[in-house]
Symmetry: C2
Subunit: 191 residues, 2 copies
Amino acid sequence: MDRKADITQMASQLFKERGYHATSVRDIAQALNLKGSSLYSHIASKEEILWEIVEGAARAFLHSAQAIPPNLPPDQKLKALIHAHLNVIVANLPDASVFFHEWQFLPETLSREITLKRDHYESYFRQAIHEGIEQGLFQVQDEHFANLFIFSSLNWLYQWYDPEGLLRLEQLSNLYTQMIFKSLNYQKLNH
Amino acid sequence: MDRKADITQMASQLFKERGYHATSVRDIAQALNLKGSSLYSHIASKEEILWEIVEGAARAFLHSAQAIPPNLPPDQKLKALIHAHLNVIVANLPDASVFFHEWQFLPETLSREITLKRDHYESYFRQAIHEGIEQGLFQVQDEHFANLFIFSSLNWLYQWYDPEGLLRLEQLSNLYTQMIFKSLNYQKLNH
DNA sequence: TATTGACGAACGAACACTTGTTCGCTAAAC
DNA sequence: GTTTAGCGAACAAGTGTTCGTTCGTCAATA
């Protein structure tokens, strides 16, 4: 089923550029030199394509967090989480864009599943930050807001990241880590 | 033309919930106890509604920045800009959501105009930060990234802000200011 | 080696429906 | 008595999807 991956990838690009509802099945097919009806040899519905993209991105985020050793000290854990998060976005920008932008157009049963996965993913960040505060590494006035602040700064990346631009993943990760750690009143100087 | 404002406001809510393309003219009309064709006594096209919302939000952002005295010291200026930005989002969440989410669906001539307004607006932030760095109030490794980081943290607010929630504008503004200033290595302690 | 048959990818045509928009009409308000 | 907000009907175009069919590939059979 190599062809299905082609369709999903092309759809991801078009969904990113024009949005899910503004992209027709015939648009996707045309971009692959096919006719609209031909896609249905490989997919069940347009919605299935969206699901494939969004669920795949959700899984990518989750796996990248689960790959981090849970016994790392919280500052190193947070640093690794930031790096992993940025990597998922940068490595597949169209998928990440569709994930953030179009997940809401899935039917309720499926979108709820995505919400669950996202909450689970975010809990890795929350816990690292919580541990860091407990151990006196971080210092914040409002822990709940600190989490939102950090997710905000990270999630908006897909809006402005330019693969052709100057910022490579490693530098991006360093800059993010630095500013986030400062906003958390990180005590150690060398991280 | 009071009726036109009703239409725009209702459309703003629906666009926020379902997106521009997934909301039909008949949907908007039905929510106002009207028929689709009736809207055309007050509007020229569906696109005009979107323009009204997006351009209005862009103007709101721009005016809120222009109302800040330009001779304020950069730290106070940035603090005021943050407060003003949050205020625009919180005061009209649907418009802000549509502004961030759906501006791209305007035809190119109009979307370019929005981009210009947004760039102009962002330049107020950039300049305050730049001045702050020059005067030694802020200290960052990469000024360009610092700008992106701050906009990211601020712009994502519309994704999670809950008007029924606990966070009021003033507290929100304080928390944002605190974390952003720390991320900028702000030297003075009492701001 | 030649023939058969199954398979799967791609197609054109058609489907029921929705889209944004127009137009001529009605009924009420000034 | 003029204006106008609202309506129903209709429009051309586009939507996702289904259907029967074609055509090339490849393995098994004769």
